[in-house]
């Protein structure tokens, strides 16, 4: 029997259920599914396992991957080619160019994008927000005002989990908010040394320091979902987090608009920082090729895109999928994405590997995290940031 | 009043009565040797005296003071262990000085004391070595030094020589003996080597299964053993035990040995009257059975016995000859020069002055 072997880190209940849709779809076509889940730290362990598999000369059929990792692997010449399928199904038209950036290498399709997450979201507890006036903040100043009100309510204003990637996620939203999309592109995407040490960047770090004031004492090392839980239970007012956060709300049987409010991070409406899970198809033997193509086709099947993304909290990678099945937040996400894509305000998320290779990403995390934890001052951060980025390139 | 008195001492370990009703007294300057087969309780008794194992009942009185409940470190007793128990991590000097250090003696004074003791034992040149760098004999001396330096009220020695080879043992034995002479120390000494016991002791205590068999001077123990056990235990080769029966020959009490083949005079060690026809055991040590040329000129009662030689063991200085007669085996000690070979017939001379007689039913010696 033909089968695909899939390396991924969607191990939690909801994600796995979503993935099951794909598995069953393939099974109907007579394709078996060999599962190879490797959880942990947004695929850190998975990439290690993948290295071992590739080195041993036996890569899996498809691997869940993010952003620049895809490029890195493509460069090593170990990935397959989906051009025929893509042409046949017209992927070029339905998948946003910003995603294609990662799905293609040297003009060849190598990966099938599953979804689009975006990271510049702010999640608010509706009750707390109402108590504080009910008006969602539109820029940093309003945000700080709101947070102050939360503070007066005696709750943790901003729920944050102190892990490098979470710090980075917050940071990139602040960069986008303070500097706008052009500055984000210059500083983050282009890694422009000047931008990285500019006054705007100083503002970013100052804002970070200010935000730090609104954390509770236990933020360090806390998993993101525990922070979300704080907001859900009303112990905290807001959380900056990617759209996967919605899964927690839904799971707690909360309704968007009724129990919680999802808005773009203040000052970033109209821009979207995205990251996209893609299944990179590795260069497997001819005997497995057919199954691999079938899987790629199944991933891009609109039915799967809907089924998966409604659960996951993200939006479909294809732009031609109707939003009827999605809730308010989902619908907003799809609308924002389409707008941003059209206006050129769609950019890859640094924290999730879509703006820079992992070496640079981690280097930025180093600085951001140390700054946020008070190990270095803003001046030092501005000095170090360009250095670290340069050293990692 | 005696210097050390142990009265009605019992020690139970688990269900095992290791010591039973031990009563011992000793004077200052006594050299008391505990002997007995392995497991008879010698070490346990020593441990009880040292305070390392509290007795179950009974009293230990040292110099007029009941010391049952005194901590070992406060008894002022020194002990030399069979394994020497030297502290491997300390030099010889530190080993010897440790007890003084624990008593808070100052550094200079300690060094002085250690030096003196080392001088006596001729181990000055070893003071900076560690125990692992010493030979057996040297270790033994260090162990002794450790005890000596404290000038304790009582010395306890637990088989201190058993790890040494024969030659060294002889030397060390002499050294301990002269030590006792020179310092007049009060010593309790455990061994299961009867030569050691005989040569060192002023008083021997024979133990068996936790009970005392006999207490006496070496000569009493050797020549007038209280029972068959003591007789057999002390002396090597062991005392010959010959089955006999009392008979009267012309009114003179005699003992018929070897199924009646030989009649010998009733030994002088028996002073009471023994009725005729009693089964007895005649005990005679190998040196009491000699060749004709070797007979003690002062002996009063002798008997000649002809027997078949079965084993000849020349030790160089003497020759031990084992012979059989009427199904009984006995060993004699003859001069090294006597020409003798197995299967030969040989005339032995029994020196009955040295013989003792036991009652086979009670195993006690008849006196």
């Amino acid at each position: 029997q033909e089968s695909v072997e899939v390396l991924h880190w969607w191990t939690s209940g909801g994600e796995a259920a979503a993935l099951n849709v794909l598995k069953e779809n393939l099974q109907k076509q007579g394709i078996g599914w060999q599962d190879m889940p490797v959880a942990g730290g947004s695929g850190v362990q998975a990439m290690t396992a993948l290295r071992a598999r590739v080195t041993s000369g036996d890569p899996p059929t498809a691997v869940q991957m993010l952003g620049f990792d895809i490029k890195d692997w493509a460069e090593m010449g170990v990935v397959g080619n989906l051009n025929d399928l893509a042409t046949e199904q017209g992927w070029d038209k339905v998948i946003p160019a910003a995603l294609q950036e990662f799905s293609k290498f040297d003009g060849d399709w190598i990966a099938a994008p599953v979804n689009v997450h975006s990271t510049n979201w702010l999640w608010l507890n509706k009750a707390a927000l109402d108590k504080a006036g009910g008006e969602p903040p539109k820029n940093m100043d309003e945000l700080f005002a709101l947070l102050d009100k939360f503070k007066e309510q005696g709750i943790t204003p901003l729920a944050h989990g102190g892990q490098p990637w979470q710090d980075g996620t917050l940071w990139e939203s602040v960069v986008l908010s303070v500097g706008g999309m052009d500055f984000y592109k210059k500083a983050v995407i282009d890694a422009d040394a000047e931008a990285l040490s500019s006054d705007t960047m100083r503002q970013v770090f100052d804002n970070m320091s200010r935000l730090r004031e609104y954390f509770d004492a236990n933020f360090s090392g806390r998993d993101w979902n525990l922070s979300t839980a704080l907001v859900i239970e009303g112990q905290a007012g807001a959380q900056q987090m990617g759209d996967w956060s919605k899964g927690e709300w839904l799971r707690a049987e909360k309704k968007p608009g009724e129990d919680f409010v999802c808005i773009r991070f203040p000052g970033t409406q109209g821009s979207v920082l995205f990251n996209s899970d893609q299944f990179v198809m590795f260069d497997v033997g001819e005997d497995k090729r057919n199954a691999q193509l079938k899987m790629a086709a199944a991933v891009e099947d609109p039915a799967f895109q809907i089924a998966f993304n409604t659960v996951k909290g993200s939006v479909p990678a294809r732009t031609d999928v109707p939003d009827t099945e999605f809730d308010d937040c989902g619908k907003k996400g799809m609308k924002d994405l389409a707008e941003a894509a059209a206006s050129g305000n769609l950019a890859g998320s640094l924290a999730h590997g879509h703006a820079q290779p992992s070496s640079v990403k981690e280097a930025v995390f180093d600085v951001v995290t140390q700054h946020l934890n008070g190990q270095i001052t803003t001046d030092q951060a501005l000095e170090r940031l360009p250095q670290a980025v340069a050293a990692a390139q | 009043m005696s210097f050390l008195r142990i009265s009605n001492l019992y020690k139970k370990i688990g269900n095992n009565e290791v010591l039973k009703d031990i009563n011992v007294e000793m004077e200052k300057g006594d050299f008391l040797v505990l002997v007995g087969p392995s497991g008879c309780g010698k070490s346990t008794l020593l441990n009880a005296i040292a305070g390392l194992m509290p007795p179950t009942s009974g009293e230990i009185v040292l110099d007029g003071q009941v010391i049952n409940d005194l901590h070992p470190s406060k008894r002022d007793i020194a002990m030399v262990f069979q394994s020497y128990a030297l502290y491997p991590n300390m030099t010889v000097e530190e080993n010897i000085g440790f007890a003084l250090e624990m008593r808070g003696v100052g550094k200079a004074e300690r060094a002085e004391a250690v030096k003196n003791v080392a001088g006596t034992l001729q181990i000055e040149h070893l003071l900076n070595r560690r125990p692992s760098q010493l030979s057996g004999g040297q270790r033994q001396r260090v162990a002794m030094g450790r005890a000596l330096v404290r000038q304790p009220r009582v010395f306890l020695f637990d088989e201190p020589l058993s790890n040494l080879d024969a030659k060294l043992r002889v030397e060390m034995r002499a050294e301990i003996k002269s030590l006792h002479h020179n310092t007049d120390a009060t010593i309790i000494y455990v061994t299961h080597d009867q030569i050691e016991a005989m040569t060192l002791a002023t008083k021997i205590v024979v133990l068996k299964d936790g009970g005392i068999q006999q207490v006496g001077t070496p000569s009493e123990i050797y020549n007038r053993p209280a029972n068959l056990f003591v007789a057999d235990f002390m002396g090597s080769p062991a005392m010959n035990m010959l089955k006999g029966r009392t008979v009267a020959d012309h009114g003179v009490r005699q003992i018929a040995l070897f199924g009646g083949k030989v009649n010998v005079a009733m030994p002088s060690s028996v002073t009471t009257d023994v009725p005729d026809g009693r089964e007895v055991i005649l005990g005679l040590r190998p040196e009491g059975i000699t060749d004709e040329g070797m007979v003690d000129p002062t002996a009063h009662a002798i008997a000649k016995v002809e027997a078949d030689v079965s084993l000849v063991e020349p030790t160089g200085s003497d020759t031990f000859v084992t012979a059989r007669l009427a199904g009984e085996t006995f060993t004699g000690r003859v001069r090294a020069d006597v020409a003798i070979a197995p299967k030969q017939r040989f005339t032995f001379v029994f020196n009955l002055d040295k013989a003792v007689v036991f009652d086979p039913s009670t195993t006690r010696r008849l006196a």
Partner: protein, 293 residues
């Protein structure tokens, strides 16, 4: 050895005992805390965990998390709990421990009883294997496994664990056999026994204590290994720790701490069992040679 002499006078001895036992009980409680947290958490509901006191006893204890962890929890797209992975680990641990122990025993035997010039260097070189950081060997090892066709298989994992366990097993057995009397080997040689006969009939039957130490040590290390497991196995072939990690550390999903903890306790059961049952022999085995410097 025990410095506690029973000759100390009764009163102070009793106080000393009380102090000793109190200290030990307090220490034991501290050591048990993490286990206590794991156990109590596994019996709580998620809501109670989020809101409640970590050290509190469960208000409403339930086995739900346990049954879920064992049979229903999702790991990847299969929702059959961790029971299958348990068996994977057993399949890996048993041969790996057995092989590395036997090889270690043979090596120790040769290195102490059949010495050849340079045996110390050979031993020293082998011992170094204990100390290399495993992260450094992942990639070349993957290549080698690929060449041997062992990649991605339980046999491959067994092989890896044997390779990097050899240093320790050899060390343990060498130290133990070092103290084993040479005369027994000589006697057996004179009696006509050959190399393997001597090992099998004379040495091995007397190696009980050190076998216990080695097996415990190897068993715990291999059972608990994550790095090799995640790198050289995949999917339903994965050992327990990898499955557990998949269960516990999903990054963007919901965390069911009670299920995690129950699974964690399941994962720890065999090693706990080994330590409880063989703990006494462990100390004895250490005494019998492994500890000697």
């Amino acid at each position: 050895m025990s410095a506690a002499s029973d000759s100390v006078s009764a009163g102070s001895a009793r106080t000393a005992r009380i102090v000793i036992y109190t200290l030990l009980i307090v220490l034991a409680a501290v050591y048990l805390l993490p286990l206590y947290v794991m156990l109590t958490t596994s019996f709580k509901s998620l809501a109670e965990i989020r809101g409640g006191d970590m050290l509190a006893l469960p208000r409403d204890p339930s086995w739900a998390a346990w049954t879920k962890a064992w049979g229903d929890a999702c790991i990847g797209v299969t929702c059959e709990g961790i029971k299958g992975y348990f068996w994977n680990s057993i399949k890996m641990v048993v041969p790996a421990v057995a092989i590395s122990t036997v090889l270690g025993a043979l090596n120790g035997y040769v290195l102490t009883k059949w010495r050849f010039p340079g045996h110390k260097i050979v031993f020293g070189l082998m011992l170094f294997a204990c100390f290399i950081p495993f992260q450094a060997v992942l990639i070349p090892m993957a290549r080698v496994l690929g060449i041997f066709g062992l990649a991605n298989s339980t046999s491959g994992l067994v092989f890896v664990h044997v390779v990097y366990g050899l240093g320790f097993t050899t060390l343990f057995f060498r130290n133990y056999y070092e103290a084993f009397p040479d005369e027994l080997i000589k006697a057996a040689m004179i009696d006509g026994a050959g190399f393997f006969k001597i090992f099998w009939r004379i040495l091995l039957p007397s190696s009980g204590p050190i076998i216990v130490v080695t097996v415990i040590y190897q068993f715990t290390n291999i059972w608990n290994d994550f790095l090799f497991g995640v790198s050289f196995s995949s999917g339903s072939e994965s050992p327990m720790t990898v499955a557990l990690n998949n269960l516990v550390s999903s990054s963007t999903g919901v965390k069911e701490y009670n299920v995690d903890m129950a699974a964690a306790v399941f994962a720890a059961l065999p090693t706990l069992f080994v330590y409880i049952v063989a703990g006494r022999y462990f100390v004895r085995g250490l005494m019998a040679g492994a500890v000697k410097g």
